[in-house]
Symmetry: C2
Subunit: 451 residues, 2 copies
Amino acid sequence: MPDTRVEIIRRLARKGAGPALERALGKSRPQDVATAIAHLAPAEQRRVLAGIADLDDAATVLSTVDDVDRVRLVAHLDFERLVSILEHMEVDDEADLIAELPVELRERVLEAISDDDQEHVEDIMGWPPDSAGGIMQPLAFRCSESDTCRDAISALHEQAEDLEMVFYLYVENDQEQLVGVASLRQLLTHAPSTALKDMMISDVLTVGPMTDQEEVARIVSRYDLLALPVVDEHRRLMGIVTIDDVLDVIQEEAVEDMLLMAGVGDELDPADTSVISAARQRITWLLITLVGGIGMAELIGVFEGALEKQAVLAGFIPVILGMGGNVGTQAATIAVRNIATGHLGTDGTRGTAKVLFRETRVGLLLGLFFAFSLGTYTLLRWMDQPMLGAAIAISITVTVVAAAAIGTMVPITLNRLGADPAVATGPFVTTGIDAVAIVIYFGTCVAMLGL
Amino acid sequence: MPDTRVEIIRRLARKGAGPALERALGKSRPQDVATAIAHLAPAEQRRVLAGIADLDDAATVLSTVDDVDRVRLVAHLDFERLVSILEHMEVDDEADLIAELPVELRERVLEAISDDDQEHVEDIMGWPPDSAGGIMQPLAFRCSESDTCRDAISALHEQAEDLEMVFYLYVENDQEQLVGVASLRQLLTHAPSTALKDMMISDVLTVGPMTDQEEVARIVSRYDLLALPVVDEHRRLMGIVTIDDVLDVIQEEAVEDMLLMAGVGDELDPADTSVISAARQRITWLLITLVGGIGMAELIGVFEGALEKQAVLAGFIPVILGMGGNVGTQAATIAVRNIATGHLGTDGTRGTAKVLFRETRVGLLLGLFFAFSLGTYTLLRWMDQPMLGAAIAISITVTVVAAAAIGTMVPITLNRLGADPAVATGPFVTTGIDAVAIVIYFGTCVAMLGL
């Protein structure tokens, strides 16, 4: 159903502006309009945004489209319309958009929006974009400790315009400190004369504005919260992070991890980036691979004498490198995952030693199994050279154990150093393991086969 | 703060049961108790679960711990206590747990729980675990079209016990069809005499019970919903999927994709799986790599004559394979990601051809750049053999273009065939690209160098 709607908008937008497009836009959910925009050419995108009559809808569309499309759309937007759309956005989205603007336009926009909005936007923009302060919604439903349910309900009436996504009501004492929380449901099921103090939950989980958004997501998801209050050092309520924003954070972080693991930067939509910029985003890791590969050519060159006597040794290079690389990547993935879930890292060095010992044993088990398989193949294939089979078996075992250990240690070390452990599954580690594997392999063969 | 709490529980549980442990458990959030359990030995885990006096807390703990721990804990739980804990769980978690039980125990438990619970649990268990029906909460806050706000509020009072996470009230007509939805906030801000019909939103997004949980997550996140109703073919409300469950789905799927991409099965917690079972989970993909590697040894064997004449050719095997593998994995990651976001696949073959053309051009650009770098290195290093540099440059270009095309096509094809495209970043594709790369490389060298 939404997909036909997207189809209709795309068709109309391609034909040109007009009342039919405006009617279709008026009948569509803004999220579907945003999806349609992703498939359109820049001129058509502008036509669609211009055709949205409802400012709330236009605000949702502009908050929902991809960053690249948004920047392009905003650049062509008339100043007055931009300001009206911004004033209909949720404050956190408004702050994100204003932060993306060129400095001069940003100043003009901040001057033009309402004083309230300006204050809230500046509250958010003062914090890093991936911190609790940077993703919070400064508007929250606040009541005083001395209020009753009746007071709270009438306050809700008055603030109805400004508040979005209200689930909880935050109770403050006369020093404006957060002392409790109550749900709308409690308001409905308690007598109007009940004091908030008597029904609120006073053991409230909170975070500070500098808490990382991943930590915020972890707390919201772990304790099944709908919103998490952000408080300052005096426990005064600064804003709330709502679960729908947490959903975005989790998706964003998962995608980031995945793209990071493959070394493709933040290239998301093939329609959005040019071929040249796509190539540029991918080139870093490929350059590491290339430099690593040249190093490998030099390293293998050291053993050229052995290769001239035994050309068959070249044939095992792929299997040795492939097994090492895969075992290393698997160990690194497990480590990255366990760091992310908090299973690794809380225990300090004792936990690390335990995990490393375990991964090494897994590697040894796998190594022995593959030594047996690959050794048997080699023995049967080159029956006249039994030492070749033995040398291959020994090198694969040592390589796999080393790869498991390296793959485990690199993400743990990166995490300790404050870097993102997800980088560890990339070409740095694979290239390192490759070099170790080549030295193990040729070293063993030269020693055992007397080359 | 929660981390010290986890620490206290762990210390007390290791010392043994006792009133100190029970007091600490009574003062802790059940989610923290679940985290503490992850770090304990099986006997200590049982001691902790036994020490939780509050049945609601025990239910949350048991729903929150890892699958492996849960199965082990339940196996040692006294039948009466198991039934009481189940009756305090949210119905969807209750159904998940009962589905995990051995058949005989499952039958006994279904007999022992209340008739209402049994009915709801069976409602959920009838659907696949990753469908909307399998993750829905059958209890929803329902009212009739003819009710007023006052009626709804008093209904909420009566149902207060059973309902968890109430955000919306679902309005049904006299054929029990879902006709609208209203928020608790609307109940609070409208006059008690307002008819629900007059304030509800009647354009309600719904899904069927067989809708995949990933699709449910996409809808909830796209439209910023707190809950999504599941309806049968007559549009009768069967249950709702709430945003906190969607959060779990998104995390689960992201982790699944990541582990799938590295071929490590569903091995999550190093403390939970034995070394042997960890090795077993990882072995499938390594076996593919091994078999692929043996194939590669045979393939290179074909060119043994060339290698005997030019041992230096062996040195370039890693860089050719490494570049091909990385470019292929990057292209596959982009394709998997674009399938997941819906950017790829909606357009049918036209979109595919466009993406393939684009990726091939990115590959060509990268290939030419690397041909230049690697070719220059080779020319400078082996100045007496200019044709070697040319052969290397041509092979790397062709390999990289082929890798980009293969990496793009495999996930798209897998998706068409109904398989999970994330598998494409694994050793299947890398091994395939390896074989193609070796043939391109040695073929070009043999032809150009006259070996």
